[in-house]
Symmetry: C3
Subunit: 158 residues, 3 copies
């Protein structure tokens, strides 16, 4: 192979490693943005024409205006606090500007009005698109495995 071919192939591999980091970061910013109630950070992970399909008990949201509404009118009011821990991130590239991603999450939180904590276990299945060099979420499908009170567990700061 010529040096130019070698460098071209290296560039493509480094691009993919960087894309992997960028795609994982979207899910981590979902957690940081949601839990720390950082609106700009949370919104920055979604394409304007995104779909956020949580399913029961919260619903399905399309586009930035709907995600905004979900956050402010439904989700943040529903929870007094949350801590999502996301892991097991797997990314598959479907072309130069499309990827799918899946991960699992365990969330500990407290629903508004509850004295006791709730734990949620879920998986996220994402469709990602790269536009103008930037990766964001085009569609997130949430599958909730369990969503339950932990009897007697009160959450408080030390």
């Amino acid at each position: 192979m010529s040096d130019d071919d070698l460098i071209g192939r290296l560039l493509a591999r480094v691009d993919e490693l960087e894309s992997l980091e960028a795609i994982r970061s979207l899910t981590f910013d979902y957690c940081h943005g949601f839990d720390k109630r950082d609106y700009d950070r949370f919104m920055a992970i979604w394409w304007e024409d995104c779909v956020w399909d949580i399913g029961e008990p919260f619903g399905r949201f399309e586009g930035h205006a709907d995600v905004h509404r979900a956050l402010h009118d439904i989700l943040w009011p529903a929870w007094d606090e949350t801590l999502h821990l996301c892991g097991n991130n797997r990314v598959a590239f479907l072309g130069p500007r499309h990827a799918s991603s899946e991960c699992d999450v365990q969330c500990v939180g407290r629903l508004a009005g509850d004295d006791e904590a709730t734990i949620v276990g879920a998986s996220y299945s994402d469709q990602l698109e790269q536009r103008d060099g930037l990766w964001k979420i085009a569609k997130r499908k949430v599958t909730i495995h369990y969503f339950n009170l932990v009897p007697g567990l009160v959450l408080s700061k030390p």
Copy 2:
């Protein structure tokens, strides 16, 4: 250094970054494969001559046929549901085709016949080998730190 030397060293570094991703992905596929009962995905992480040493209460399994048996006759029947969240992944390269890896896992699940959830905290210590360009697990040693019922915690979908 000549351009060829520079490119050669870059290639080795990109190889290692890609290997790191590949090795981490094996543990993530262990979680996805086990929890979502995706047999092909789970089996694809193990070399044919692997060792999967869980210890008490489940046992030690050698080779694909034994892993198959462990899954179908012991582990999947033992659990009605599981959600493993894996993190703290550390990889050390022991040579071009050998690596060791360690990580921690917190698992929430429900044993068959139980009404209440069980939580498990464990560490995985892995030996990895690259054969024909592919990384898979040669040996996994599981160390379980705790394995206990959570009194009163019922797992259910919302």
Copy 3:
């Protein structure tokens, strides 16, 4: 662009990907070192002149001697066992030798003298510095979101 320029830019990108791995590994070694009581591993993540600011109920520690004292006189005696699972790692480079990092952690453990488990949810906000080619933590600020007993949850090996 000339080949030399291309190679120079590739080198910078690969450097950054490797730095990202190195910085994440510090937090993972924090968990492994603390939980497995591996003193050398835990100390190796901190610069000599570090700050480890846990806040209530544990305190703020400056420099290796103080971190040593915190471990041996305060933290390890306070806990009979711990398992930290760290995730959501985000790194921002502030210059060639400075970075900030944040992540979240869920910890399950048992305080000395307690029969029941305690869970802790926290975030770590780190300042990192690269000196002589090595990344270590210059400052870690811990924010604890909750720190509570789980009634009835006893931790034991299977």
